[in-house]
Amino acid sequence: MSSNVLIQAKSLCKTYELGPVTVPALSGVSLDVCQGDFLTIVGPSGSGKTTFLNLVGVLDTPTSGGLIVFGEDTATLSRKQRADLRLRTLGFVFQAYNLVPVLTARENVEFVLELQGLGHERRRRAEEVLGQLGLEDLGDRRPNELSGGQQQRVAVARAVASRPRLVLADEPTANLDGENAELLIDMMQRLNREENITFVFSTHDPRVVRHAKRVVTLVDGQVSNDEIRNV
């Protein structure tokens, strides 16, 4: 595996048992994600986008197929090792922001750093990241005191504060208006350029697709197209 390849998926399959019904979410997805990618995964609802992100984010395990994440075969990892891998190398941004409602914006960002074992410097780092995303004056506000765009930027700050190598974003702009969506994408592009953070999005949003360096199309749980673009 090249040192440039962060994620290596080979014939990845995932099925869900929903009572008597077996639902195939992924049916043999093979895909590499490289360092520096700004990659979007597009496809209709139910095509397996979120499932793929969950597998890459080691939140779930494949039914069959191989998945190497940062050189680790995910099939051999224990629950604790997967949590550790997520903490050290991954960041997550969700469609519904999913900030902890009882913590302030700064504390939401600090929480990840505290889980990593950072001491006094976590506050400084949290404020640095919030500043990078234009949230320096909003650190003491709770999520219910922020707009949707601001909340999503805090979620991005939380995702990047620990300096992950890869950020997985599941429909991050779905709940944002046009202006906030563009602002968010610009910020993530900047982080991709300046901090060399790899981004993988699942999205329906053409504004995100427009900025992507690479677009992978999933249909019925399979890769139907993989396009490199000059952006």
Partner: protein, 413 residues
């Protein structure tokens, strides 16, 4: 020093649903407050029983001949009672020590007779130990050096139809089994407040018992303690000094039926406390589980950002710890005034007794129970509340750990 984010998260999670947290804390507070009162009450009742036994002539401790415990034979005499008395009086915590000798006897006046246990006493020391004879309603108590006199209970006086300065005949079995007799002049009549005990009190000087029974010296030394809670330690210490021919007995060994009654009460109280703690435990477990179910997505997100199972458990235990702490403090706020009132004013059960006799096993019972109060209430309150809350969070924590983050996030999606 700044607090950890995890601690702040735990505290603020409790404050998220103020009403639920308030009700949980009140549940813990009331439950544990009730437990505090129950334990205080039964400790006070035990203390009352012990005090009643000790001050009814038994003492907290007794030095007796070693064979007495098996035979309960009042004819036995102490081998070296002077040494035993000296040892007892020297010990810290001993309020008084007094010798006794007893024999079964028959009192007669004309054609009237009544069987009694004749108790030989030291009249200088006896009133310090025995509260029953402090209520000499007619005449006086015994006087040192004046032999041939007797103080009897009101019930005996009525049965014999005697009054002060009347001479009554006493007969008892001597050392060789021969019937011995003597005349005793009534110098005092006692009303104890118990009809049963009024027919039992019959005190003479030790010298008179020796004269009537031909057995010299006392059969026992009864000891009253200043620090009754340490009676077992004092007994052990005294036993080391009195030698092998004598044995030091506690009030529990002297009146085992009373000790058994006290133990039954304690066992019931432990059971009641256990039931209350169980109810609190189930209530908190239910509330905690509801909180976990509401926060499944939140836990899934925390798992996604890298929180490990152990860290999640610590957060949930912190929440339980805080609940237990607040509940424990509330239980003290509720329980302490009630305990303090019962400890100072007592709970008066005399109305429930009505005309019933206030004696049990020759012990005059106090119908007013004073609760026991002390600093031990604080660790008890916190111990009960923290035990209930920490244990109650185990199942919800286990449930939270089993949450599949991908599933929880997908469902919410």
């Amino acid at each position: 020093m700044t607090s950890s984010i995890a601690s702040r998260y735990a505290l603020r999670s409790l404050l998220r649903h103020k009403r639920r947290t308030f009700l949980s804390v009140v549940g813990i507070g009331v439950g544990c407050g009730v437990c505090l009162f129950l334990v205080s009450y039964v400790r006070g009742e035990s203390e009352m029983m012990m005090r009643a036994a000790a001050q009814s002539g038994t003492g907290h401790l007794r030095i007796a001949p070693r064979q007495w415990l098996e035979t309960r034979n009042d004819d036995l005499r102490l081998a070296d009672w002077g040494t035993g008395m000296a040892m007892a009086e020297k010990l810290d915590g001993v309020a008084c020590a007094t010798p006794h000798a007893r024999t079964d006897a028959l009192l007669a006046m004309g054609t009237r007779t009544v069987g009694v246990t004749l108790t030989g006493v030291d009249p200088e020391r006896e009133p310090h130990l025995n509260r029953l004879i402090r209520k000499v309603t007619l005449g006086t108590y015994l006087t040192s050096g004046e032999t041939g006199i007797v103080v009897i209970g009101k019930g005996i006086a009525e049965r014999l139809d005697v009054g002060l300065d009347d001479d009554i005949l006493v007969t008892a079995s001597g050392q060789d089994g021969q019937i011995q007799g003597a005349m005793l002049r009534v110098v005092g009549i006692v009303a104890t407040g118990s009809r049963a005990l009024d027919t039992q009190v019959c005190h003479v000087l030790l010298e008179d018992v020796s004269r009537i029974t031909d057995r010299r010296g006392p059969a026992e030394i009864s000891i009253l303690l200043d620090t009754p809670k340490r009676y077992r330690e004092t007994a052990d210490l005294l036993q080391q000094h009195v030698g092998g021919e004598s044995v030091v007995l506690t009030w529990e060994e002297l009146i085992p039926e009373l000790a058994a009654a006290v133990e039954v009460d304690k066992t019931w109280t432990r059971l009641m406390v256990g039931v209350v703690v169980l109810v609190v435990f189930l209530g908190i477990a239910s509330a905690q589980l509801a909180a976990v179910l509401e926060r499944r997505r939140e836990f899934a997100v925390l798992s996604a950002i890298g929180m490990k199972g152990g860290q999640l458990i610590r957060i949930m235990l912190t929440e339980s710890l805080l609940l237990g702490l607040f509940g424990g403090l509330l239980s003290l706020a509720i329980g302490l005034p009630v305990v303090a009132f019962s400890a100072t004013h007592g709970i008066d059960f005399s109305g429930l007794y009505g005309d019933a006799d206030l004696s049990v096993s020759s012990i005059l019972i106090d119908p007013i129970i004073y609760g026991d109060a002390g600093w031990w209430l604080v660790p008890l309150a916190l111990g009960l509340s923290l035990t209930a809350t920490m244990l109650s969070s185990l199942y919800p924590a286990w449930y939270a750990l089993r949450t599949d983050p991908a599933n929880a996030l997908r469902v919410e999606h």
